[in-house]
Symmetry: D2
Subunit: 134 residues, 4 copies
């Protein structure tokens, strides 16, 4: 992704990038794509009825990650309260999706990889919140 | 919108609609559209430089409202924690956007109407959070 | 929705609203919400395995409608080519979703209402394309 | 991104990945993030009034890329018509955004990088359309 390169050219950022926030943005876009794949892969499994909750959490997580990635990308001046609230919501969505995907990880590789991506994104969101506290 | 009619046919809902949540869903979709218009209308004003912060908050609010509307629509079984976190984030995004739009309300009708829509959506999000506490 | 009221205050629009485009914007946001509900309601049905294709088309239709609503709202100066391409894509997504939902309309009220909403949105997209030809 | 790894585990895909489509999905998510940064960076420039059209095309391109990435990720069975229409719309949005960003490339590094990302995404969309013709 071009996230780091792009953000370093932003007139309000020049030479002062927040590495934790950039990592978080990259993870959010990645996790949105991963959860969208996992939902569709679950829909393609024979025992789809066992994966209904997984599909729902995947879709919620994808929506929240997409919005969080956009809001965190947009350094909305004094809008720190919104970035922070979205990072918290995103960490929660990722945690719950990772838990559910984890239950199917032995059966389905897409759930195993998705659980890892969600945990990694959750971690990135928490680190980004911390990086904004200073 | 078909929100009420559709949600009342959901197999997990039948005859037990949460009116506060339905109003909130409708407000979120409306507010997303309103903020997208306001951002574009601000970009069309002669003194666009005075409206930069307004445009940014409009875009953040539109993204958060879109995601909140989808997550709240999707009654993700036990995913109450995510709905709640998004409703809180959305109320914050709406409040901050309403404050900024309010500053330009006398100059620009789109900012005046957008501030009203944001305040109404903020209120609907808070009522929806309360309705989930029981 | 505030779509008409907001768009009529846009500095590039004043007193010269395109009624077909405004109706289309409202239909896109409505259809996005309707399809998101239908996907989730389908996931809640006992025979979810029979509704897999319906859920997928619902999700595609919701994503395309959301993007089309935003792009059509944003009167991007000379960006008519993109609005037009999205209106065509949206009409296609709505048509295919309406066909699939129509197959389950007798069994499930949410599919029946969703098929109607999709057909109405398809029609609005086609009328909006025509309105831009002049 | 996990796109390739995830898609290769999809039950309908196993061992038969479409490389052009996977590259396109990755480019769409990247381009959405890049355009969102460019819009916000343009808003931060002193001469924002000269960049209004660029900001609008950036926002349109981000919305279309986000939806195209999701729709292309979701291999909606027989929904090839929608994927194809979205890939065409996305190629158009990317081309027009690249042209406008290209006009500001000497002044602003974010516009230069964004123009490159848009051209690369446009190319990936066209290659993906071709890969689906067989």
């Amino acid at each position: 992704m071009h996230a780091r390169e792009m953000i370093s050219t932003h007139p309000h950022v020049r030479g002062n990038t927040n590495d934790a926030l950039i990592r978080c943005i990259e993870e959010c876009y990645d996790c949105a794509q991963t959860c969208t794949t996992c939902a569709d892969a679950c829909l393609g499994e024979d025992k789809v009825a066992d994966l209904v909750q997984c599909i729902r959490l995947n879709m919620d997580c994808a929506d929240v990650c997409t919005a969080t990635g956009a809001v965190a990308t947009r350094r909305s001046g004094s809008n720190e309260a919104v970035i922070r609230a979205m990072l918290e919501a995103c960490a929660t969505a990722c945690r719950l999706c990772a838990e559910e995907c984890g239950r199917h990880a032995q059966m389905h590789d897409h759930c195993r990889i998705c659980a890892e991506a969600c945990r990694s994104c959750e971690d990135a969101c928490r680190m980004a919140v911390q990086s904004m506290s200073h």
